[in-house]
């Protein structure tokens, strides 16, 4: 059952088209990802869905409501973590929870939420004294305090260290496991691959593909990549002549062979026949990053 339906969304700011033509549906209980480089229109899209912005054209339905006409009904049922939003500097953690829980007809237990997010010891800490990770966890707590049916998380882990990022991912899975639908906006390929049940690849204001992470990867031709250091020099043609190989490239120290099918066996057999030993051999699967490059001809954001 679809909880969000977006059709032909279009939004421009002056001459700049932020969202050109975006359509997707989100099913109840899934983690739906919106993945794309910075400036692709991801945030504008979710802000239209949240009712913060008015689209120029297209239709949006959230839990059966139009976010512009029935904004209040939508806002009571969704929880939002905004990309750039803070709290007053001197507001304490527990005060923020108490305040935000008073906004909803059926709030969750704020103290328990803080406990589960590891913020109990920070209850009396003012917002500006929290670390980036703590502020982010508080933002998640505030997004959940109204008992939402849908949680929107926008660039949730940007600016977090790797450990905090992984902790946050675990948290997002726990949210989903309890039946809350999660819409996750991100430009981290790894995050989308790890968390999302389905995801929309967005580039230049358009959805270029919409599938499961595995489905997106399988669309890319040449599913395998071999990296190794050759023990002795060899002629590339012995590999490019193989039907499994699509490309052979060299970095300063490594040979990179891309191909598909039974690539590993074909390459190692051929090399063994010429007495070439592939040292430090690694096999890499194509990932979402490759899928994105294949689908758009561009790279995703630089990974941090």
């Amino acid at each position: 059952m679809a909880v969000i339906e977006v059709a032909n969304l279009h939004k421009r700011y002056g001459d700049h088209v932020a969202v050109d033509d975006v359509s997707f549906t989100v099913e109840r209980g899934e983690i739906f990802g919106i993945l794309g480089p910075n400036g692709a229109g991801k945030t504008t899209t979710v802000e239209c869905v949240e009712g913060l912005r008015t689209p120029d054209s297209g239709s949006i339905s959230v839990l059966g409501f139009d976010p512009r006409k029935d904004g209040l009904e939508v806002r009571r049922r969704v929880g939002v973590q905004l990309q750039k939003s803070e709290l007053p500097e001197k507001m304490q953690v527990a005060e923020a929870m108490e305040l935000y829980s008073s906004f909803y007809p059926n709030p969750a237990d704020g103290g328990k939420l803080l406990d589960d997010l590891g913020l109990t010891s920070k209850r009396r800490t003012p917002f500006k004294k929290l670390s980036g990770g703590q502020q982010q966890r508080l933002a998640i707590a505030l997004a959940l305090v109204g008992n939402p049916e849908i949680a929107f998380l926008d660039e949730l882990t940007t600016g977090l260290d790797p450990q905090a990022r992984r902790d946050t991912w675990q948290l997002v899975e726990q949210i989903r496991d309890r039946g809350v639908t999660v819409v996750l906006v991100t430009h981290f390929m790894e995050e989308a691959e790890r968390l999302c049940d389905r995801l929309a690849l967005v580039d230049a204001g358009r959805v270029v593909a919409l599938d499961t992470p595995a489905g997106l990867v399988s669309r890319v031709d040449g599913g395998l990549r071999l990296r190794f250091r050759a023990s002795i020099q060899f002629d590339d043609r012995i590999l490019t002549d193989l039907p499994e190989v699509t490309e052979v490239a060299h970095t300063t120290s490594q040979t990179v062979v891309t191909g598909h099918g039974n690539l590993l066996q074909a390459v190692s057999t051929t090399l063994a026949g010429r007495n070439v030993v592939p040292l430090d051999l690694r096999v890499e699967q194509t990932n979402l990053e490759d899928a994105f490059v294949a689908l758009t001809g561009r790279r995703l954001a630089e990974e941090s």
Binding site: E50, G51, L52, L72, R75, R76, V78, V80, L82, K84, S85, E86, L87, P88, K90, M91, E95, E98, L99, Y100, S102, F103, Y104, P105, N106, A108, D109, K112, L113, D115, D116, L117, G118, L142, L144, G146, N147, P148, E149, D167, Q170, L171, Q174, I175, D177, R178, G179, V180
Partner: protein, 273 residues
């Protein structure tokens, strides 16, 4: 984080019960009580408040103690400077709160995304304005009471003889200046700009309120201009009430017009982000 699932469990059980939804709900009053309490606490934590609050009391003490302003003078019809100086002092604090405190709070709330965050909850952003208004009203009432108490006990300055007229003038002066503060917050591109505009607007407005030329000292020409400024009209209306008459309708009308017209323009121009 292991207990997390239990909270969400409870969340799911209760979130879809229609009985918990009181009608359409979410009117302007949603969250107003908590927001007001929260804004009040935040204001008390602001060190600038103590400064704003102590200035008027200090002025009363200084002008009440100095021989030139604390003794009867023919310039004031045999009364004292201090007897005419409470309305300018009160309007000055109103000006400071509306033009500096309010504008910087709203500008920083906007710049830091606090207003946007509120806009995605069931609370209407206008509710935050009302909360701010209530907090300002409460603090101004407190400081005014302290000013009147100090002036009364230490320097024998009488209470306003037309007390209801005074309260009315005081209230209208606050809401009209609140509207001016909102307009500045609405048009200023940044918090710094808002504070700058507020400060620039502050001096002519308190001049017209008679901070430098209280009561009988104000030249007639300036008094004519003052009649049509929010702090001037407020100051004169309060002075009339002090002297025992109901404020002139002109002054009350000026304050009401400022409130409605400026308030309406501000509400049209105000941006939440």
């Amino acid at each position: 984080m292991s207990g997390f699932t239990q909270v969400m469990d409870k969340a799911q059980e209760t979130s879809h019960t229609p009985a918990a939804v009181p009608g359409r709900g979410g009117n302007v009053l949603t969250g107003l009580r908590k927001l007001t309490g929260s804004e009040f606490r935040l204001m008390l934590r602001d060190p600038g408040l103590a400064f704003v609050m102590s200035i008027p009391v200090l002025l009363v003490v200084v002008f009440g103690s100095l021989p030139s302003t604390g003794s009867p003078s023919p310039d004031f019809g045999g009364r004292r400077f201090i007897d005419f100086y409470l309305p300018p002092i009160i309007t000055m604090v109103i000006g400071m709160m509306a033009l500096n405190a309010l504008t910087s709070v709203l500008a920083s709330y906007r710049e830091r995304g606090i207003l946007r965050r509120l806009a995605v909850t069931p609370v209407r952003p206008i509710t935050l304005m009302i909360a701010q208004g209530l907090v300002n009203l409460a603090s101004l009432t407190t400081v005014t009471a302290v000013v009147m108490a100090v002036a009364g006990f230490a320097f024998d300055v009488p209470m306003p003889r037309q007390f209801f007229g005074f309260v009315l003038a005081f209230f209208l002066c606050i809401v009209s200046m609140f509207a001016v503060g909102l307009l500045i917050s609405a048009v200023a591109p940044t918090g710094k700009a808002a504070n700058g505009i507020g400060t620039v607007a502050f001096f002519p407005l308190v001049f017209l309120a008679g901070v430098w030329t209280p009561g009988p000292l104000m030249p007639d020409v300036i008094r004519r201009v003052s009649d049509f400024s929010p702090l001037g009209a407020g100051s004169q209306a309060m002075q009339r009430a002090w002297d025992g008459s109901f404020p002139e309708p002109l002054h009350l009308i000026v304050l009401a017009v400022f409130t409605l017209v400026v308030g309406f323009i501000a509400s049209r121009l105000f941006r939440w982000e």
